[in-house]
């Protein structure tokens, strides 16, 4: 059995840290997306071949997904019994995204480390002094959880009824 650890546990306080720090990113979102891909291609140049020449749609997808992630982490605790549509469920959406990355783009597990490093670098650069150790820790945990979920995408079974992008993200992208 693989070694057990709890490095990805996210507390309620850390969810609030994620939400508050994201609120600081929103006004500079386009710049942040530029920085993210610039840094990603510096760390892993071969990743550039996975994307088309025009990166604008991809940047919109990235921002929509990040917004979805932040929103999905932030729900009132007392509503835990309420059903949530599969297309709005963070786990199912990210699992499907990971499955697509594995099946269609043959993304290696190691590439998730590059994506994580680029994301933290972007937040550090974009947030400046607001990128405290607390913020870094919260985003590191969230990204660790999401990357593990995406890696598990290759274990996903079923008819893929959950699309790879959340309903909200699809609306934002199609409306743009």
């Amino acid at each position: 059995m693989a070694r057990d650890g709890v490095a990805m546990i996210i507390t309620l306080a850390q969810k609030q840290v994620i939400r508050r720090s994201w609120e600081l990113v929103v006004p500079i979102a386009d710049t942040a997306a530029d920085l993210f891909y610039k840094r990603l291609f510096e760390i892993e140049p071969e990743a550039r071949t996975l994307f088309s020449e025009d990166m604008a749609p991809q940047k919109k997808k990235l921002l929509a997904m990040l917004a979805f992630i932040v929103k999905s982490l932030d729900w009132p605790d007392e509503t835990w019994r309420q059903p949530v549509h599969a297309d709005d469920d963070l786990f199912l959406v990210v699992l499907a995204l990971g499955r697509r990355h594995a099946d269609l783009y043959h993304v290696r597990d190691a590439s998730y480390d590059s994506v994580g490093a680029a994301l933290l670098w972007t937040l550090d650069y974009g947030l400046g002094e607001a990128f405290t150790a607390e913020v870094r820790d919260a985003w590191t945990r969230v990204f660790g959880l999401l990357a593990t979920t995406m890696k598990m995408g290759k274990c996903a079974v079923g008819d893929g009824s959950v699309v790879a992008r959340p309903a909200t993200a699809r609306r934002e992208v199609s409306g743009s």
């Binding site: 996210i10 786990f91 979920t149 996903a156």
Partner: protein
């Protein structure tokens, strides 16, 4: 969704069970994670919804113990099922994060080397624990006692409230937490093990006490005649001692056996026994800890207290394994958001790789002094004619304690039931 469907299937060689559960904990779907052996036999199953463990089953147990069992060797494959939403959910066993940490700690405990502090000088003067004490069977596992349980045949749990340093607010936490638990319907008995700054002094009722815990150590059958009731039907108090200082209160020997017998009797009378320990992790506190099923640590959000926080776990680790209570978590008390020193201490405590913290943090507040002046729990203090906001934090803390122990039912459902009747 009306039917069960398989979402994911994989090998535990590639992904650890903790990773699988943490990922599933992110989902708000009703999900079952089934573990199978190499030859396809079921090893166990855990049901999860929105970060809560709804149920667990292993080959030999159900509930919280089964959840721990799942981390043992033998499982090879995980299968994740998405389930239809039921009409109603049972009370969860607990938050997934908390149960995960406890299960992994339990699974790795035999290999964990905990450095023990040097024995305190006083301990050298104390006789070694008797053979009967050292070979005593482990305390029974905590029972899940419902909020309305009334049978005295059932044994409740005993939770020691302890801290390495004095003056951090153990008595205040004990009293107000007990109040909130009792308000939830959990039959709660506060046992005062601290003769230095006792609960009855906090309640301005010291002069009304005739006898207390130290007077009946060694004769626990006298417990019912010494317990004091309160205006809250579900809350009662066993004071520390009467007007005269009993000889056992100053005894320089281990009282582990006496405390064990007294608290066993107390657990027969209440679903939850909260024991307010003296400052420090040794001497009387060690005796009480060895007689309790669980412990809660209290740390003050202040630098000296935060620097002594490691002693909390060391003190518990020094209890013989067969009598060691389970540490439910640590409450940070007297937090001051405007004080840099308090903030620094808070960060030091929360970032330490130590015991699990409770989500609820108690701030420093004038309301506690006002409550002490009136000799009441802080809920009865008044600020601008209303119960002080800080008093409601103890309801949140009580919820966390219930989640972590499996005690009690949802307060709101119970209240609505009473209202309709």
């Amino acid at each position: 969704m009306s039917e069960t469907s398989v979402v994911m299937r994989g090998s535990l060689d590639e992904f650890s069970l903790a990773d699988v559960l943490q990922v599933i904990g992110m989902s708000r779907q009703y999900t079952a994670v089934q573990l199978q052996t190499d030859d396809g036999r079921e090893y166990g199953t855990v049901w999860i919804k929105a970060g809560r463990v709804i149920g667990a089953r292993s080959s030999s147990a159900q509930g919280r113990h089964a959840f721990v069992d799942l981390f043992g060797p033998g499982a090879a494959v995980f299968v994740v099922h998405r389930l239809p939403e039921p009409k109603a959910y049972p009370d969860p066993l607990g938050p997934l994060n908390t149960m995960l940490m406890e299960a992994i700690e339990a699974a790795t405990a035999p290999r964990k080397v905990v450095p023990l502090p040097p024995p305190p000088v006083k301990a050298l003067q104390r006789p070694r624990p008797s053979r009967a004490a050292s070979t005593a069977p482990p305390p029974p596992p905590p029972r899940v006692v419902g909020a309305t349980a009334t049978s005295t045949a059932q044994s409740g749990i005993a939770v020691a409230i302890a801290s390495p340093k004095g003056g951090v607010g153990k008595t205040t936490i004990t009293l107000n937490l007990a109040f909130s638990l009792a308000q939830r319907g959990v039959r709660t008995l506060v046992v005062d093990a601290d003769i230095n700054g006792d609960v009855m002094s906090l309640l301005a009722a010291r002069d009304r006490v005739e006898r207390g815990a130290y007077d009946i150590l060694g004769s626990p059958h006298e417990l019912p005649s010494v317990i004091r009731s309160t205006v809250i039907p579900e809350l009662s108090i066993l004071p520390a001692c009467g007007p005269n200082l009993p000889a056992l209160a100053t005894a320089r020997r281990s009282l582990a056996d006496e405390w064990g017998a007294l608290l066993a009797e107390a657990r027969r009378m209440a679903a939850l026994v909260l024991v307010d320990c003296p400052a420090g992790m040794f001497d009387v506190t060690a005796d009480v800890l060895a007689s309790c099923t669980h412990a809660v640590g209290v740390l003050q959000s202040e630098l000296v207290a935060s620097r002594s926080s490691a002693m909390l776990e060391r003190g518990i680790a020094a209890i013989p394994a067969e009598r060691r209570p389970r540490l439910l978590g640590v409450v940070v008390n007297m937090f001051q958001g405007r004080s840099e020193a308090s903030l620094e201490a808070f960060h030091a405590i929360t970032s330490a790789d130590a015991a699990p913290l409770f989500e609820t943090t108690i701030p420093r507040s004038e309301a506690f002094a006002e409550a002490c002046l009136g000799g009441v729990p802080v809920r009865f203090a008044r600020q601008r004619g209303q119960a002080p906001p800080v008093s409601w934090l103890f309801d949140m803390l009580a919820t966390e304690v219930c989640d972590r122990t499996g005690l009690g039912g949802p307060a709101t459902e119970r209240a609505i039931g009473s209202f309709v009747a």
